[in-house]
Symmetry: C2
Subunit: 286 residues, 2 copies
């Protein structure tokens, strides 16, 4: 990790929800010259100021953006286009802009015609979060040990990509990877959207209802925690990445059907092989 | 919780794997007169003695069984028949015997003709465990706050059922429920076996392999932890409860298909309703 002095740099975080709030907290570690918060909700900005996690909050983005060397956008994916369009002329020359959206292809396509030439928008995805929304659930440690993904675009400057990599490692991420937007959206449909679809389907396939809490163990609790889902955000992520998600659901269904078939055929050996394969794969990512 | 003096009682735990070992540890809290371990593996018995979690270990079950007021059987479900048959005449008059098997109907059916009339076999299911096997992973706290299920049989004595309920609460279980074997096996196929089938299928539907560890977050980690599965035990549980499990898999598949259809139709409202329903249900069991 390169040693960068952040004390001359101004950072703005756009959207102080659970992710933006967590970034503001985690960024304290690099001691930026100034850290501004941008949000449409004055109450949230006031709370962030009182928590001491931003120097000042703004509902008018143009004021802090003009001074910001780094901008981290933490609003819902589909709001990013509107934000960028509205603020096209408000960025500081040479600013590095990044986001935290969980889907990339459609976003990159939408933005390509409106990105100002004198800023560098580097797509980023912090693979960490919480099932709750809002600044009250923000945490300065939620990124500790987590994965971070950058999907570089041809127009990104290598130095700026390195700067973001460096910053993310500094605030706690363990590994930063670079992949294309297409790979990102494929991988993420498997590692993130599919698990959420599964958790929701599992909870919704409860025929018993009222008493089920008496008959569950840790496995059910763990597999369904993320069914406490932010419905607006995840509807957006599912629809933005629909083609990939549908393919992943079908691949998963085929593997589950395999298990069902082994059970129906009472094929113990096939079940054991299937379990051994899963066990080996899962142990490899610990 | 009734106040029982355990200092005059002798307890034996049969099978000192992760569950039997955890029972031996947790039972220290009630200070039994004697606590014996029964296992076919001398090394495991020696280890349990050295750990101080049993007073003495036996490979010959007949010696401790003759003295035991309470026997907790923690071997694989399909081994219980053989153990009971072999030891039919070794139990103390009036002994309370219980098990920890995750499936009940077939087990109860198999045992009905060989249970000695002068003992009371009360079927129990501790809904807690770990993905690892063996005494090295036993834990005296794994039952803390967990659910425990009893499936009473017509021949069980009410006092003895109450005794087991009382004991389980004393060693850390939070809630003890009574349901029929049929209900038990239906509920458990949903809350326990289905999640394991899902975790295995999710890990096995990874097309990307080597790099996937770089692109996962907590949700994937959590949904797949139990894919580190004890393959022998779970093949047995799946096959012992095959009819219920197949029905549950199909119910789950239909709910996942629902989500897939909403995504294909780009039906945001339906997705949001589906997420809201899941969220509400999951919050209710926290």
């Amino acid at each position: 990790v390169e040693d960068v002095d952040f004390s001359n740099l101004v950072i703005s975080v756009v959207g102080l929800g659970v992710i933006g709030g967590s970034f503001a907290m985690a960024l304290q570690q690099v001691k930026p010259g100034k850290l501004y918060g941008i949000d449409k909700d004055k109450g949230v900005l006031k709370k962030a100021e009182e928590m001491g996690i931003i120097d000042k909050g703004y509902t008018d983005a143009s004021i802090p953006l003009k001074r910001s060397d780094i901008v981290i956008i933490c609003i819902y994916p589909r709001q990013i286009y509107g934000f960028m369009k509205q603020n096209m002329n408000n960025f500081k020359l040479g600013a590095i802009v990044t986001d935290s959206a969980g889907v990339k292809i459609k976003l990159a396509g939408r933005l390509q015609d409106i990105l100002p030439p004198d800023i560098d928008f580097i797509f980023g995805h912090p693979m960490a979060g919480r099932e709750k929304k809002g600044i009250d659930y923000a945490s300065g440690t939620v990124f500790q040990g987590a994965n971070y993904i950058i999907t570089p675009m041809p127009y990104n400057k290598e130095d700026n990509i390195r700067f973001i990599e460096n910053l993310m490692i500094k605030i706690g991420f363990k590994r930063v990877s670079r992949i294309s937007c297409a790979e990102h959206d494929r991988f993420i449909s498997y590692t993130s959207q599919l698990p959420h679809a599964i958790a929701v389907a599992l909870v919704n396939s409860d025929e018993y209802q009222e008493d089920i809490g008496l008959f569950i163990g840790d496995s059910y609790r763990e597999l369904t925690r993320i069914a406490k889902i932010n419905e607006e955000l995840w509807a957006e992520l599912f629809l933005e990445n629909g083609d990939n998600l549908v393919k992943q659901i079908e691949m998963f269904e085929s593997k589950l059907e395999e298990i069902k078939t082994f059970v129906l055929k009472k094929d113990r050996d096939a079940l054991i092989n299937c379990f051994k394969k899963a066990c080996k794969r899962r142990e490899a990512i610990d």
